[in-house]
């Protein structure tokens, strides 16, 4: 028994290094997508202390809007622009209707409000788009669909080109976002709001503009995530459950840390695949991905209650 846990999996890894690489690659791709969703959470949490549960449905909504516009005959790239416009309109509406009246309420109330938004968008989306599974317009957006086949150590390693594209685009997006937050006025304002909202307001930063902006950025991230994930298995409301996968990432990385979200996402993506393939499937009947990330994050939190990269919690009476 102990041998199966402590020895066999590692022997398997060494015996088939190409397979190990494939597992890590799959983990990396899922990890990137978890990281993107977590990033949406972190941005909103930093600037407004809102734990935005609606990020998952925003991914679905953005992807469906994109496919919907294209189905109406709009060219692919114009559809992207229109979808962004819709996401902006959504951000403005959410800010006006939901967030503004709830300023200053306890965290849990704001959290519940985002669940309310989630339900509303599910019903609304199903009326407009219907519940059918849709094909993501991968080719029309110019995303390559072939795959690279490598043969390390005489083995086999398959890299889907759309996954490679997703990884590159995600990396670019993160770089752009970091540049925006660090080097532009607006970006600095967002960070200021995250650090100390009272002080930020007193130097004339507009809460409303920032909120709209932050939700809009979360909308852009949602669209990218939706395209990447939709290219893998189609777009339907079942995608919404991936929001849950981002939660342990947040725990691990810390609710306020952008780099934490990215590193946490990649770590969870790869570790959960490794665990599932080398321990879960042979020893526990599989399906461990459902809880592995949460349990891992829980264990980490027991040692670092603010997550790996979160800000140290200082409590005063």
């Amino acid at each position: 028994m102990l041998r199966d846990v402590l020895f066999t999996p590692f022997a398997d890894m060494i015996a088939a290094p190409d397979f190990l690489l494939q597992v890590l690659w799959e983990g990396l791709v899922s990890g990137i997508l978890y990281a993107l969703i977590a990033l949406g959470f972190v941005l909103i949490f930093r600037s407004s202390r809102i734990f935005n549960f609606a990020q998952g449905i925003m991914v679905v909504f953005a992807a469906l809007t994109l496919v919907g516009f294209h189905a109406m005959g709009v060219p692919a790239w114009i559809s992207v622009a229109l979808t962004l416009a819709v996401m902006l309109a959504l951000s403005v509406t959410i800010e006006r209707v939901v967030l503004r009246p709830l300023v200053g309420q306890p965290d849990i109330i704001l959290f519940m409000a985002t669940i309310g938004i989630t339900l509303f968008l599910i019903g609304f989306g199903e009326i407009i788009f219907g519940g059918e599974n849709k094909v993501m317009i991968t080719e029309q957006l110019g995303i390559p669909t072939g795959s690279f086949v490598l043969e390390p150590w005489g083995g086999l390693l398959i890299l889907e080109q759309k996954d490679v594209t997703a990884v590159i685009v995600a990396a670019l997006l993160v770089a752009a976002l970091l540049a925006f937050l660090n080097y532009t006025r607006m970006g600095r304002a967002i960070r200021a709001l995250g650090d100390d909202s009272q002080a930020a307001l007193s130097v004339g930063i507009s809460l409303q503009t920032i909120w709209v902006l932050v939700w809009f950025i979360a909308g852009i991230i949602a669209l990218v995530t939706g395209i990447a994930w939709g290219a893998r298995a189609g777009v339907s409301f079942a995608l919404e459950v991936i929001a849950y996968k981002a939660l342990p990432v947040l725990m691990l990385g810390g609710l306020e840390s952008i780099s934490g979200a990215i590193i946490g996402g990649l770590m969870i993506g790869m570790l959960e695949k490794l665990f599932e393939v080398y321990w879960g499937q042979p020893l526990m009947g599989g399906g461990t991905e459902a809880w592995f990330a949460f349990v891992l994050a829980l264990v980490v939190l027991l040692f670092r209650p603010q997550g790996l990269f979160g800000e140290k919690i200082i409590e005063r009476v």
Binding site: G130, N133, V135, G234, F237
Partner: protein, 430 residues
């Protein structure tokens, strides 16, 4: 927007017909799921079912002169809503069509008390075959255990299974686990290794690790019991990992055109066992086009209507309609009751002549039910995706029901003891 307009007209028409039918009607509610994670596979089936009944109402004025009220009650595949719908409709309904396995399991014991037949064509609980124990439940024309048996037969036809490895990719849910006893028995008898690979409800969209396992274990065949978003996920992953498509076989719920269209040509060779086939030239399909589609009374679309699932919906309603007309003939009344319909469903005789007469040529294999056998074990065809659509790739396969008769007896016996006191149909001979 177009969709909304269509919806509005459809409801308007439905409203008018329902209003006129208040006096005399056959109320056969359908616990549909056009929302939720399984909606993608539910919608074409529900559309097919509804359109066939609308066609009968338009062409023949219903069944035996009595219009059918095929109202839908939306469950979103949730058992809670399912019970709500069942309770809401059971007063006037002559049949209940529960759809999800979860709802079926919950409603099954209640129908025995409320005395309403459950019609679960091709799904539900496999031991329902035992009509003496499950006197109110029907899952004709074929059950999951038939499907498992036929798939094994088909694989054997490709060469001996001795020493082979068969992966069983299934939804981690009562539905996915249903065929396991038969597959396990077959593995023992034929000497192949069975490797169950569960897919959790939250992993349906991302099956990378399941397919990594497939790649590592190198099974000779993959058999899939998938549903909803899981099918699309599995098929795209199979293409990605270069699993030979011709060795990948799904149950009938895993053979949805839209899922295969995602991969198109790359999916060519994928197979699905099926007890229905969407024969576009069948007179019934033509009638549906003439009386329903052309009048704009459908919620479906031309692409969906050529699919396997839409065709299956048609067959499902045809089976129900046949049960109703059998009961009408037996009891000499148009407006039959729930228990009369039970007799009708027990005495369906879908001979080849009858199938041709109904205009369902080539859409469903012949089968007959009796009070002892509520499944009919029609058998089915192996359908194959040719890159654009599903085509028949085998002759009619018939399940060897004797192989798992013991399993049926044991499972239904166990059910009856667990639910004691459970009313059996003692009058049934044979």
């Amino acid at each position: 927007m177009n969709k909304l307009v269509k919806l509005a007209t459809a409801t308007l028409i439905a409203g008018v017909t329902a209003g006129a039918a208040m006096a005399q009607e056959l109320y056969t509610p359908n616990l549909s799921y056009r929302t939720g994670p399984f909606a993608a596979t539910g919608i074409p089936l529900m559309n097919g079912q509804a359109d066939y009944m609308t066609m009968l109402n338009e062409r023949d004025g219903g069944i035996g002169g009595v219009p059918v009220n095929f109202e839908e009650c939306e469950t979103g595949y949730s058992t809670e809503k399912g019970v709500e719908c069942y309770e809401k409709t059971k007063g006037a309904a002559i049949v209940t069509q529960p759809w999800s396995t979860g709802i079926t399991l919950q409603v099954l014991p209640k129908t025995n008390v409320d005395q309403i037949p459950i019609l679960a064509p091709g799904y539900g609980f496999s031991p329902m075959m035992d009509g003496k124990t499950f006197q109110w439940a029907f899952n004709m024309p074929s059950g999951y255990w038939d499907a498992a048996d036929m798939i094994v037969q088909y694989l054997e036809g490709q060469g001996s299974l001795d020493g082979k490895k068969v992966a069983f990719l299934h939804l981690d849910h009562p539905y996915g686990k249903e065929p396991l006893p038969v597959l396990e028995a077959a593995a023992e008898a034929k000497g192949f290794e069975l490797l169950p690979i569960p897919v959790g409800l939250n992993e349906m969209q991302n099956q990378a690790s399941q397919w990594l396992q497939v790649r590592r274990e190198r099974p000779d065949y993959v058999v899939m019991w998938g549903w909803g978003a899981m099918n699309a996920g599995a098929i795209t992953e199979a293409v990605k990992t270069r699993f030979p498509m011709e060795n990948f076989i799904g149950v009938w719920w895993a053979g949805h055109d839209a899922d295969l269209r995602l991969v198109g040509e790359d999916g060519a060779g994928y197979k699905s066992i099926s007890w229905s086939y969407p024969n576009q030239d069948a007179p019934a399909m033509k009638a549906v086009r003439e009386y329903v589609t052309d009048k704009g009374m459908t919620k479906s679309n031309p692409e969906e209507m050529t699919g396997v699932f839409y065709g299956r919906g048609i067959v499902m309603s045809a089976i129900l309609a046949e049960g109703i007309s059998a009961a009408q003939a037996e009891y000499g009344t148009g407006e039959i009751t729930a228990s009369q319909l039970r007799w009708g469903l027990e005495n369906i005789d879908f001979t080849q002549e009858r199938i041709d007469e109904l205009g369902l040529t080539g859409m469903v294999p012949p089968f007959a039910t009796s009070c002892a056998n509520h499944t009919g074990n029609s058998g089915g065809w192996m359908l194959e995706w040719d890159g654009e659509k599903f085509v028949k790739a085998s002759d009619l396969l018939k399940p060897d029901t004797a192989g798992y008769a013991d399993l049926v007896a044991a499972a239904s016996g166990q059910y009856a003891t667990e639910n004691a006191p459970w009313e059996m149909n003692e009058a049934c001979e044979g």
